[in-house]
């Protein structure tokens, strides 16, 4: 046996691992202190306002905590404090529009959002009448979006399956390229495309809900393809091989192993795609048109959806149309949120179980 060599001294051996640090309450105290100081100064110079108070407090806080940290804890921790502050500030900035939009919508929307509004159409209602609702637009939204989903999900999902499971070489590359291009098509162009197609097929003035659905499909299909493709790629190859090794043909492997394993992600992707198109206005204006009446038939005459309804009301001017517009906007947000919850439920139910 050779003698054991003594291990080389670790760098900085003998130096304590402990280092000085600010107490845990330091950030909170500094923030409170900064806010108080800024408030006092602003009041003293007679320029107090919520905006300047917030901005200056945060600035003072960032400077103080960084300086304090630099003197007590050293450079690395000081940078950490500064960047942490920065990240929180950015998060706050990002939240402002979100909260503001929600707040404004709820505030203005609840004025008119009641069972009457949800159950009445605008038929025989004058714009300024204290009456009328969005029932026809809610139904139109559900029908037009529903048909768009019925078209887009099979097409998009099968395209994704082709790309992941079968696609090789030129054709697959071309499809990927065109899907990318489609993702970037302005929605009004999709609308005009379908409008032109309808003009060719049925002649002028033939608005119908289904035309709107087709226009929305042009926008929805690439989103479905992209998200499903990512989800199918996440399915481990080992599962496909396990299935092949049992003598299972490829198509059954896809239908019974690959799709069930990825169903949660695919569902989420579809829901995101629906959320993306349910708020479209422009392509529907030129394809489905608008109407004040209830129409359940997507294949005959005009059909209105909530975004178009909002646009119509706002463009009429006046307090009551304004309130109707916000109420419809709130309804739309609620529908999207309900769909999202539904999607979560679906993926929860289908998600692979580990049992651990």
């Amino acid at each position: 046996m050779s003698t054991l060599t003594t291990p080389p001294a670790a760098p900085g051996a003998g130096v304590s691992l402990l280092s000085r640090s600010l107490p845990r309450w330091a950030p909170a105290a500094t923030l409170a202190g900064s806010a108080a100081v800024v408030a006092a100064v602003l009041v003293a110079v007679g320029a107090f306002g919520l905006a300047q108070w917030t901005v200056l407090s945060v600035l003072l806080f960032a400077v103080t905590i960084t300086a304090a940290s630099a003197s007590v804890e050293g450079g690395r921790r000081a940078k950490d404090r500064l960047v942490t502050t920065l990240v929180y500030v950015c998060f706050g900035l990002a939240m402002i529009p979100l909260v503001s939009v929600l707040w404004t919508t709820v505030q203005n929307g609840v004025l008119r959002l009641d069972p009457y509004f949800l159950q009445t159409s605008m038929r025989n209602v004058l714009a300024r009448d204290d009456a009328g609702g969005a029932y026809h637009a809610i139904m139109g939204t559900l029908i037009v979006t529903g048909w768009a989903t019925v078209i887009s999900v099979p097409v998009g999902l099968m395209t994704a399956i082709y790309l992941v499971e079968y696609g090789r070489g030129r054709l697959a590359q071309a499809i990927t390229f065109f899907v990318d291009v489609m993702t970037g098509i302005p929605s009004i162009v999709a609308g005009l495309f379908i409008a032109a197609l309808w003009l060719q097929l049925f002649g002028a003035g033939n608005f119908m809900g289904f035309a709107g659905s087709c226009a929305l499909s042009v926008l929805m299909i690439p989103v479905v393809v992209r998200s499903s493709e990512e989800m199918l790629k996440l399915v481990p190859n080992e599962l496909r091989e396990a299935s092949y090794a049992l003598g299972v043909p490829k198509w059954r492997t896809i239908v019974k192993v690959v799709l069930p394993t990825s169903i949660a992600g695919v569902t989420t992707g579809v829901m995101i795609a629906i959320a993306r198109i349910i708020g479209e206005t422009a392509p529907l204006l030129v394809t489905a048109g608008f109407t004040d009446s209830i129409n359940f038939n997507a294949f005959d005459s005009r059909m209105i959806t909530l975004p178009v309804y909002v646009y119509r009301q706002i463009s009429q001017g006046g307090q009551i149309p304004f309130e109707r517009a916000w109420a419809a906007a709130l309804t739309l947000i609620v529908i999207v949120m309900a769909l999202n919850l539904l999607a979560r439920l679906v993926s929860r139910i289908f998600a692979p179980r580990t049992g651990r």
């Binding site: 090789r168 481990p236 080992e238 599962l239 496909r240 091989e241 396990a242 299935s243 092949y244 090794a245 049992l246 003598g247 299972v248 043909p249 059954r252 492997t253 019974k256 192993v257 069930p260 394993t261 289908f350 692979p352 179980r353 580990t354 049992g355 651990r356």
Partner: protein, 259 residues
């Protein structure tokens, strides 16, 4: 059940790269044949060529003949899906289907193929396969729990149960124990010893003791040259290969001088 495999002049290519060079061998029924050799010498590739599993990787190509008893599995109108139904495979990492319960995993071969069977028959099949894989006693009370919730060793035995539930003639195992602890490894080795009474078993292993313990015949693969594909160096009775091999390379590998 339990068929002989006769391989002659088998070459396997990944694109232009010849990963397996001109291998010929006979694999006896109702016995265990072990493949040993350094990493990257084409054992997995060769094994997968025995049930046409390599075909799922694009760009692969095979030359040569593989006879299952008297049928050439590479003959013109042979369906690879049918071949895989007769020659099952167990993989290195346990891969139970995550969406299925233990019960459904075992009958996956039936279900995925869309075959219908009365419930009683399915129950019997599940019990038989799980008993065959020495797993029945551990899971009989939780057949409806997810297969992915078992330990690694149990998962691997579940995969073996799944493979034998379709009643193949041959079972190919690619390093089935390399992801498992010693206790689970012993359980699988015991299982292999029982299964060989009914099946033709081929096992790839990096563990010499394991090859010596479980197999009747051992085949030693090696790279034909650095950067080239693998070839069969020597094949014979396990005792002979481990005590008195004909080739110097085999002896060096077995005594741990390289690889």
């Amino acid at each position: 059940m339990a068929k002989r495999i006769d391989v002659s002049g088998l070459n396997v290519y990944y694109g232009a790269f010849r990963a397996v060079e001109d291998v010929s061998m006979t694999i006896e029924p109702r016995s265990v044949t072990a493949f040993i050799g350094p990493s990257g010498c084409g054992k997995s590739t060769y094994l997968r060529a025995l049930n046409r599993m390599h075909e799922v990787i694009p760009g692969t190509r095979v030359e040569g003949k593989v006879l299952l008893d008297d049928q050439d599995i590479y003959a013109a109108n042979v369906d690879p899906v049918a071949v895989r139904g007769q020659i099952g495979m167990v993989f290195q990492r346990p891969n139970p289907f995550p969406t299925m319960s233990i019960y459904d995993n075992v009958i996956a071969g039936v279900r995925l193929n869309g075959r219908r069977m009365p419930k009683a028959e399915l129950d019997a099949l599940v019990e038989r396969a799980l008993r065959g894989a020495n797993l029945w006693n551990e899971v009989k009370d939780r057949l409806n729990r997810p297969g992915a919730g078992l330990s690694g060793g149990q998962q691997q035995r579940l995969c073996i149960a799944r493979a034998i539930a379709v009643r193949p003639d041959v079972l190919l195992m690619d390093e089935p124990c390399s992801a498992l602890d010693p206790i689970s490894t012993l359980a699988i080795e015991d299982l292999i010893a029982e299964l060989k009474t009914e099946y033709t078993i081929v096992i790839v292993t990096h563990n010499m003791q394991q090859a010596a313990r479980v197999s009747e015949t051992t085949a030693f693969f090696n790279l034909s040259a650095p950067g080239k594909g693998g070839m069969l160096v020597e094949m014979g009775d396990t005792n002979k290969i481990f005590t008195n091999p004909d080739k110097k390379d085999t002896e060096n590998y077995i005594t741990g001088r390289f690889g």
